[in-house]
Symmetry: C2
DNA sequence: GATCATATCTTGACATCGGCAAGACGTCCG
DNA sequence: CGGACGTCTTGCCGATGTCAAGATATGATC
């Protein structure tokens, strides 16, 4: 197509830029992303992105927020999903709500590693952005609700509940992060993320039991 | 001192450069670090760092490796430390070997957030560097040994042991990472890392027990 | 102790980047 | 029909990482 096929006004440049970010990030990784490359892919000048997103961090924050929403949606789906009545695996941890949430979290990260890395790459984001914070809380709220389902003894605003949810978030987030950084043993990451998550969480839970002197 | 006080040969420029990296990273964060700024602080030309470390990623990898060693040392100290015979806290998780390791891990991250961020910022590191990998395994080995202490039922090369150690690493790493990224609630991070780690791990452990139908 | 290879560091240059200011262009509302 | 406004371009700036070539000191060899 001739270069002048493109009208002066793009139509929906913000969306096109976010799509270009996704392209670059998938191909070259988050660190190699430049504003000018994004602009080139969207077919606009190098200064166009700044007009809509302020600066590079603003563009990445918008991209990260998009990803947070998608992850929160997938977590919500996993949480409300009917439990598999047949399967009973290690400590019943992986068939209940909390287990399905963990699997959804890790699966999202492994399927979209570059996106996940940007989402939590706080150094190049505007972490005080209200939309970003809201999207993050939306995802964390899923974990919060799942823990509340298990801990019937707790009130909604109990600090203990917050601590428990933070711990739950930590284990899935750490597992995903270490996986993407290549720090986990190949014996762990050579199977699909669903199985790997189940194995690691099950083994860790058993270890906690053993540490507490319980052998179920 | 006059600018010509400095001899042509520095003496130990690599060490001086690593110290300069630490300065910059503490003051401005890992993302704001530039080779030229490091060179300025060390009092050498802008191209000097490349001679010793190849490129920017090489310098950061050396700095990360240094940090990994320090963390591994602190973890080893925590592991071999005598257990506090008096204290018995939530599920006895925090006074045993595994608990002390967790506290050491999180405390290191919170005390030196920028350094910790660089250590696991795989995007700007040469993660295939043998020294870096060795230092990482040195730290992980501490967790591995601690889990083995608890899981007497397992052999050293049992995959279950690897999964359990990966889970243990995940929870402490995720907690530290989320903390540094500012994603944890203020009620969690407003206390010293030792207490916060104990609270989150304890509450999470209790939740796992509840999910398994155990009420200790 | 002189000579020369080698390691260390400097100088200069280049392409590229993010951000800014000013202007061109299109749209929309009066 | 006209002017205000949002959209995008052009041009430019300082700064950065990397490379090549040169200068300088060290250490080994004779």
């Amino acid at each position: 197509m001739a270069p002048d096929d493109r009208p002066y006004h793009h139509g929906d440049l913000p969306a096109a830029l976010l799509a270009a970010v996704d392209e670059v990030v998938r191909e070259r990784g988050a660190a190699a992303l430049t504003l000018r490359e994004v602009a080139r892919r969207a077919g606009v000048s190098h200064a166009a992105p700044a007009h809509h997103f302020g600066d590079k961090a603003g563009l990445l924050t918008a991209y990260a927020t998009e990803g947070m929403h998608e992850m929160a949606t997938r977590m919500a789906a996993a949480r409300t999903q009917a439990a598999d009545p047949g399967g009973v695996d290690a400590l019943r941890l992986l068939t209940d709500t909390l287990g399905r949430l963990a699997v959804a979290y890790v699966a999202f990260a492994v399927e979209q590693p570059a996106r996940f890395t940007v989402m939590f790459g706080s150094e190049q984001l505007h972490t005080d952005d209200p939309l970003y914070q809201a999207a993050t809380e939306e995802a964390f709220e899923q974990l919060y609700a799942a823990v509340l389902e298990v801990r019937r003894d707790l009130q909604r605003d109990d600090p203990e509940l917050m601590h428990a949810a933070s711990g739950a978030w930590s284990v899935v987030h750490g597992f995903a992060t270490l996986w993407l950084a290549g720090h986990l043993d190949e014996r762990v990451t050579s199977v699909p993320p669903e199985q790997a998550t189940a194995a690691a969480l099950g083994a860790f839970g058993t270890t906690l039991f053993a540490a507490a002197g319980i052998t179920p």
